[in-house]
Symmetry: none
Subunit: 459 residues, 2 copies
């Protein structure tokens, strides 16, 4: 650190142990949003967050019903002439099954070798607390944050944020902001900050094929009526070319071509991605010809056959000509692909490639998300980047992410606000896996980053 120590830095340092104890308390609440048996725990977590926000000095704090698990919203005004920053996070967690793979119970947080093991530690209760600790420190030492801050914490991120689009649309005035900081993010290593320039979108559907009213005996009919499994296999096989491209007509029409700068940024990750794929357990590689593995994962749209089933799938054999078969697929999208238009193209593809006379239904899956991109020269990116460089002593890497974070697209389209991803989870911390962990040191460090970024955004 080259700067003289700030008052808020001293405050954060003095409270390090108390803040860690608080995180442990928060992690004990099993706020598993997908499990109806944990509904009360999810609400208890919302109440815990609201109470913690009030304790931090945030003047306006409210638990707001969403239709599902509630949102916790807070506001701390700095003045009408100041920019407004929305801090996004979620207080729900993934299920902890399979429990037998955890070394210590998922809701009994345990520290081993500088890591705090618990479900929700990395994704994202610690990240959420860094933002509250930061504004508390600024409140105590400077009377409040230097910008207007809106806190928006949801309880349905791990189940696809189904109620969030309507909620944001209905609460546009309340959530209006200049920029979003999403704390649901991570780093590339303890001293390797990253800035996310793009997230993939996602859209999916289930296709149910029906070739007749009843399954038939393959000996009596199989030679002269369509077999739904065969019809489905031929359809499923038609979605890709031999070269690994998606074969849906028009699929790539809206894809923004990669620039030389994009490809150079992406290539920085080649070695890391190779190691990632090598460690994945996959026996070989596959993908779209003409692109590197890294480009495919981070910057090219894809179509995945997530589930397929039809006919007799039990033990032994049944010589059946099935009349029904099913397919679940999802596409990962990149700017400027539109989930609704891609769904239309999928439908047109099915119409064209399905064996004539066979019927089908196409049901969109929940959780469609627009792809997201933010210019690396966006002022908030530049200011955040400067803070990260200062604190970590290393320039942030500009990275694209293969996964989808639906809220970024929603904030961009509904609030016209871009999102800077600012979280501190470490790679390999097992966000959705057993033995999820958080690096203890990142709790204090993350709060310092948030203080400094809020101050930078005020300038």
């Amino acid at each position: 650190m080259s700067m003289p120590e700030q008052a808020w830095e001293a405050y954060l340092a003095a409270n390090e142990q108390a803040y860690l104890d608080e995180l442990i308390e928060f992690l004990r609440i099993p706020s598993i949003s997908t499990d109806p048996e944990h509904k009360d725990d999810v609400r208890a977590a919302a109440e815990w967050v609201a109470a913690r926000m009030k304790k931090a000095g945030i003047p306006e704090v409210e638990i707001v019903e969403s239709g599902g698990h509630p949102n916790v919203i807070g506001r701390w005004n700095a003045g009408a002439d100041k920019p407004t920053v929305l801090i996004y996070g979620h207080y729900d967690v993934q299920p902890a099954v399979p429990l037998e793979l955890w070394e210590t119970p998922p809701f009994e947080p345990t520290i081993r070798e500088g890591r705090l093991y618990a479900r929700g530690s990395s994704d994202m209760k610690a990240n959420l607390l860094t933002t509250l600790h930061a504004v508390e420190a600024l409140g105590i030492t400077e009377g409040g944050p230097p910008v207007n801050v809106i806190f928006f914490f949801e309880g349905e991120e791990e189940i696809g944020s189904a109620n969030l689009p309507a909620f944001v649309a209905a609460n546009q005035e309340r959530l209006r902001c200049d920029v979003v900081l999403s704390a649901d993010s991570g780093m590339d290593g303890p001293n390797s900050p990253v800035l996310v320039t793009a997230l993939k979108g996602v859209v999916g559907c289930q296709i149910d094929v029906k070739s007749g009213d009843t399954d038939l005996h393959s000996g009596g009919y199989g030679a002269s009526v369509p077999n739904a499994n065969q019809v489905l296999a031929q359809l499923a096989a038609s979605f890709h070319t031999a070269g690994g491209q998606v074969a849906i007509e028009g699929f790539y029409d809206e894809v923004v071509p990669l620039t030389e700068r994009d490809r150079a940024d992406i290539a920085i990750g080649d070695a890391a991605l190779d190691a990632f794929i090598d460690g994945s357990g996959a026996y070989t590689t596959w993908g779209e010809a003409g692109y590197t593995k890294t480009e495919r994962v981070f910057a090219r749209p894809t179509l995945d056959l997530n589930g397929v089933w039809g006919g007799f799938t039990g033990q032994g054999e049944k010589t059946v000509t099935p009349c029904e078969a099913h397919l679940k697929l999802t596409c990962r999208l990149v700017p400027d692909q539109d989930p609704d238009r891609i769904l239309d193209l999928i439908r047109a593809h099915v119409e064209k490639h399905l064996y004539p006379g066979v019927t089908y239904t196409l049901t969109p899956l929940n959780g469609a998300a627009y792809p997201f991109a933010i210019d690396r020269d966006h002022p908030a990116m530049v200011k955040t980047g400067a803070v990260l460089t200062e604190i970590y002593g290393a320039e942030p890497m500009f990275v694209r992410v293969g996964a989808s974070v639906p809220v970024t697209g929603i904030f961009q389209r509904t609030l016209a606000a871009d999102t800077v991803e600012l979280g501190f989870s470490q790679p390999g911390s097992g966000a959705h896996a057993p033995n999820e962990w958080w690096r203890v040191a990142d709790l204090a460090l993350g709060s310092r980053v948030y203080c400094a970024v809020l101050k930078a955004l005020a300038l």
Copy 2:
């Protein structure tokens, strides 16, 4: 009927209701041979059959272990100078899933409009009973059957008769006969008797594809590693040409070409087959170019994808790139295709068409069967044909059958005995489908046919 009524006819007529009640009792036993949970029910069905055989007066009745579900064997001697007829059948049934498609529960037999609905009614508990009722009537009224009769009822027909070839080989002396009557057969309509001149063979396998050690997140990996569902779909789609031919190299090499007489015989069934397909509930037709629907079903080999599954098949969505997918397939064979050779060709096809680097296992399914053919001028065919003509007032059609009855090939190869198919299931009676039924009137009629055929074979 031009003949004066025989005593056995009167006896059968007097017992019609009691025999129907018996059938209903037999059908209540869920003797699903493929399901380990129904193992005891399968044995209970064997015991029911053995008891019923004893009650019919058959002097020698024994439940004989086969290694799997037991065989029930009986013998009623008429004299060393008489021909020996082996009556074959099976007491096991297909699974009843999907249960929700049954109008009434599969193991609660229900009569509606002259049909008895139950799993196993048409395939083949009613047919089995016709043979016992026939010898009981001949025993009561004439002291016994006019020929030596061996009864051979197995409990593994619906799972491919895996233990039967070894059993027949080991019990050749006990089963030695001049001709076989297989009751596992049917008619072309209530007044349309048929004589089967050929049965298809069958061979199948399960193919398990593995592209990695673990399922992966589609956002992190899907663009650069193979998706097992996609690999499997492409393999599954490779088994047929666009023209509906089986695309396996060498698949048709041993197929005996159809003669003009064959095609003429087959063409007699065109209208019936059209009606059969029309009534099947299939929305459209499909099949090998260059052959009529009838030729395809009865005289051309096929490949059916019986089951396919992989990845996430539950409610909702899971953005997974699966590492495993599975396929069950069976081929129907015609003379002179060899099941073992076809399995070798399938393996070679998989080797050639599977995405490189992906592993697979190919497991043969139980119940491979050689195709079967019998000369329409065989003496037993001629005598049986005369009886059918007399009783139904219509000459039997000589037909080929698309289904497989493995025992016919086994009896031909091991006992040197040809098989006359003599059963009474009606077309469209849903042998392997929900709402399987049996025409009530055929129980008494079938017994009369069996009595008359046994008498004709004695001459």
